[in-house]
């Protein structure tokens, strides 16, 4: 049995949970407000009605007892003196002077009615038959509930005084109070519904708005933002949500930018590779090819040499051509990859490059201050080398200045390179935003690959590039 009832309780509570979970917050709040208002209003009404009824009926009984005692005391003389008119007057006064008295009459000891207040229409004979073993008898009548009080006159020797007290006025009084309270309850309930609707609107509006925004974001619209309604918990949630979406949008934009730059870089890399190949092919065709051609012609001519002297002279010329060709091939190889970086380190390689740079751009003055005590990993050295090379090339090609200085130092676990020119400067932000400059993007990529960073500062008096890589 107990198990059954537990099971039933469990099922009930589950169903209640399901039901409660199924209705909207609006319904819940509305339900709570309505239920509370009605329970409180009806409870208080019922309580007041019960208490008032009891108090009024008690008071009616007290008054009835007092009235009938008074009537009995004042009836003695008129009864004993057979003064029926005085008795009638006494009853009429009793009726007139006391509220709720429905009737009054006096019965003589022999059962005859000496006087009554029912007028000329006769006397309600059933009243005589009421069994008055107690002083008060309550009965129902067509005129409502009546409390009938009896009091012996002169210890019963002169008869009995009877007074009927009607509950009608009390009932209507209690009814009026009840109606008033029910009306108040109704008014409060209506007001409560209004308040609940406003409250639920206030509560659910931001939530529904947040839900709508979430769906927009889910569908890919990262520009969607939840409206900020208030500073409450939901407001905090909306702000956090907006913050998250903004971060997401930023990060997506960054990814898209990088993707675009990477694509451009790839394009340019392929183009550059093709051009490099063309240049090498041209170098091979124009330089080495021509040299080998003239070597082949020289060797043919040597084979037909008229005399050993001429042959020796021609052989010497051929050797010269061969050396030049060898030099050209070496130069080509060095340009493709500076072996000096592998062999002698970054400082030497940079010195070499500076010298070459002066050859290529003779109008440019190059200052180098290289202070490298620790050798860096090959990848880092290569990256740093290429970044400095790019920076110097950019200065020579685009700055319009006359001097470029390169300063490399090591400090606190970082290797820092500063490439500074005295040119016209450029709008670093605009260039970086546009993503047009593959060079700048390439420098950034290289730095990030080895865990470093690049910073550009530019003004009308020149541009400074700060490169930092971990040592």
């Amino acid at each position: 049995m107990k198990g059954d009832s537990n099971l039933r309780d469990g099922l009930l509570s589950n169903r209640a949970k399901q039901f409660l979970g199924g209705v909207s917050v609006r319904t819940k709040i509305l339900g709570i407000v309505l239920a509370l208002t009605l329970v409180l209003g009806l409870g208080v009404t019922w309580q007041v009605r019960t208490t008032t009824s009891r108090v009024l009926v008690d008071e009616l009984d007290a008054r009835g007892t007092a009235v009938v005692s008074d009537l009995a005391a004042r009836s003695v003389d008129p009864i004993l003196l057979n003064d029926t008119f005085a008795l009638h007057q006494l009853l009429a006064q009793t009726m007139a002077n006391h509220q709720d008295v429905a009737y009054a009459f006096v019965v003589a000891a022999d059962g005859s009615v000496l006087a009554h207040t029912f007028g000329s229409g006769g006397f309600p004979v059933e009243l005589i038959d009421i069994d008055h073993t107690s002083a008060k008898v309550v009965y129902e009548s067509a005129q409502g509930r009546i409390h009938d009080f009896a009091e012996p006159v002169f210890e019963g020797r002169a008869g009995t005084a009877r007074v009927g007290m009607s509950e009608t006025r009390l009932r209507s009084l209690v009814g009026g109070i009840t109606a008033q309270m029910l009306l108040t309850t109704l008014a409060v309930a209506v007001f409560g519904i209004g308040a609940a609707i406003s409250l639920t609107w206030l509560l659910t509006r931001p939530i529904l708005d947040l839900v709508a925004t979430t769906r927009l974001v889910g569908a890919g619209d990262l520009s969607a933002r939840a409206r900020h309604w208030a500073q409450d918990e939901i407001g905090v949630l909306a702000r956090a949500f907006n913050h998250m979406v903004a971060d997401l949008e930023d990060s997506q934009a960054t990814i898209a930018d990088k993707e675009a730059a990477r694509t451009r870089l790839l394009d340019q890399l392929i183009t550059a590779q093709e051009e490099e190949r063309k240049r090498i092919a041209r170098e091979l065709h124009d330089g080495v090819g021509q040299a080998l051609n003239s070597l082949a012609l020289g060797i043919s001519s040597l084979a037909q040499a008229k005399s050993p002297e001429v042959a020796a002279e021609q052989a010497a010329q051929l050797r010269g051509v061969t050396y030049e060709t060898l030099h050209a091939v070496r130069q080509l190889g060095r340009e493709l990859r500076p072996s000096v970086l592998d062999d002698l380190g970054l400082a030497e390689a940079l010195e070499h490059y500076a010298a070459e740079f002066s050859n290529i751009y003779p109008e440019f003055r190059v200052d180098t201050h290289l202070d490298l005590e620790v050798r860096l990993p090959t990848t880092v050295e290569t990256a740093l080398y290429r970044m400095i090379q790019e920076g110097m090339t950019n200065a020579a090609r685009h700055s319009g200045g006359r001097t470029v200085s390169v300063l490399v130092s090591q400090r606190n676990g970082w290797t820092q390179a500063i490439i500074e020119d005295d040119g016209d400067g450029f709008d670093t932000d605009a260039v970086q935003r546009s993503g047009e400059s593959v060079g700048i993007y390439g420098m950034r990529e290289r730095a990030e690959l080895v865990g470093g960073r690049v910073r550009f500062e530019s003004s009308s008096s020149g541009t400074t590039v700060f490169v930092e890589v971990p040592t």
């Binding site: 009605l38 009806l42 009605r49 004993l80 057979n82 229409g121 004979v125 059933e126």
Partner: protein, 303 residues
Amino acid sequence: MKRQVATFIAVALLAGACGSADAEEMPFVDLSLRAPAPAAGTGEITPLRVAVAAILSPEGNIESYGALADYLGMRLGRPVEIVQRRTYQEINDLLESGDVDIGFVCTSAYVRGHDDFGLELLAVPQIDRETVYYSDLIVAADSSAVGMADLRGGTFAFTDPISTTGRIYPTSLVEQLGESPATFFSRTVFTYSHDRAIAAVAEGVVDAAAVDSLVLDFAFRRNPELNVKVIDRSPAFKIPPAVVAPGVAPRTAVELQELLLAIATDPAAASVLTSLGIDGFVAVEDQEYDAVRDLIARVDPTP
């Protein structure tokens, strides 16, 4: 949940509607069922109607004469009904018209009734072997008055207009002072019974009153602390008699007289004598009331 709330509300409303409905069965009385009010039954046997003058208040008379009425009823084998009226004159009227058979009346009422319409004496009560009574002039116990002369300008309670002790004798006292009650007192009232006159003095409603000495003695016996004192006593008057109406059959009158005169020797009447405070009844002659007759003639020559 919603159904439970609805159930609760329904229960609350129902409870409210039922309000203080009591569980007990309520009888129903049809007040519209009217009939002529039940009147005093006109029994086959005509009751003996005994009038008692308002020497005492109506309740006091019932307490004193109730036992006598019961005793007479038992002895006569017919119901006896006590009839009271506010004034002595009304009792005399009833005796004259024959609406009552016998009466216990005041001395002056007897004298007037005898002289006017032939009221006859039956017997007089004997108290402490005496058949006289007095008019006692009483004032509050703390009053400084010692005689009627000291009551000038005060208030005075008469008992009944034709009471010997309650009005006629005190009026004669005032007249001896050469005044009339209307000028001598600032105000006079009628209390229509002797015990109420005593109460009026004791409670300070009036300054003084003149009362039946028998009633005053009885009042003092009941309450020795009574707040009144006697400052003047009249000469002895014959005690108030029991009388028979002129219309009563002589045989009945004799039967009644014999019953009253024998009451002292009837053991069944012991409680009657106790409640009346008397030894018994004795015969009396009309001339024994001449003193009262003279007094009336002097004070109220034409009633």
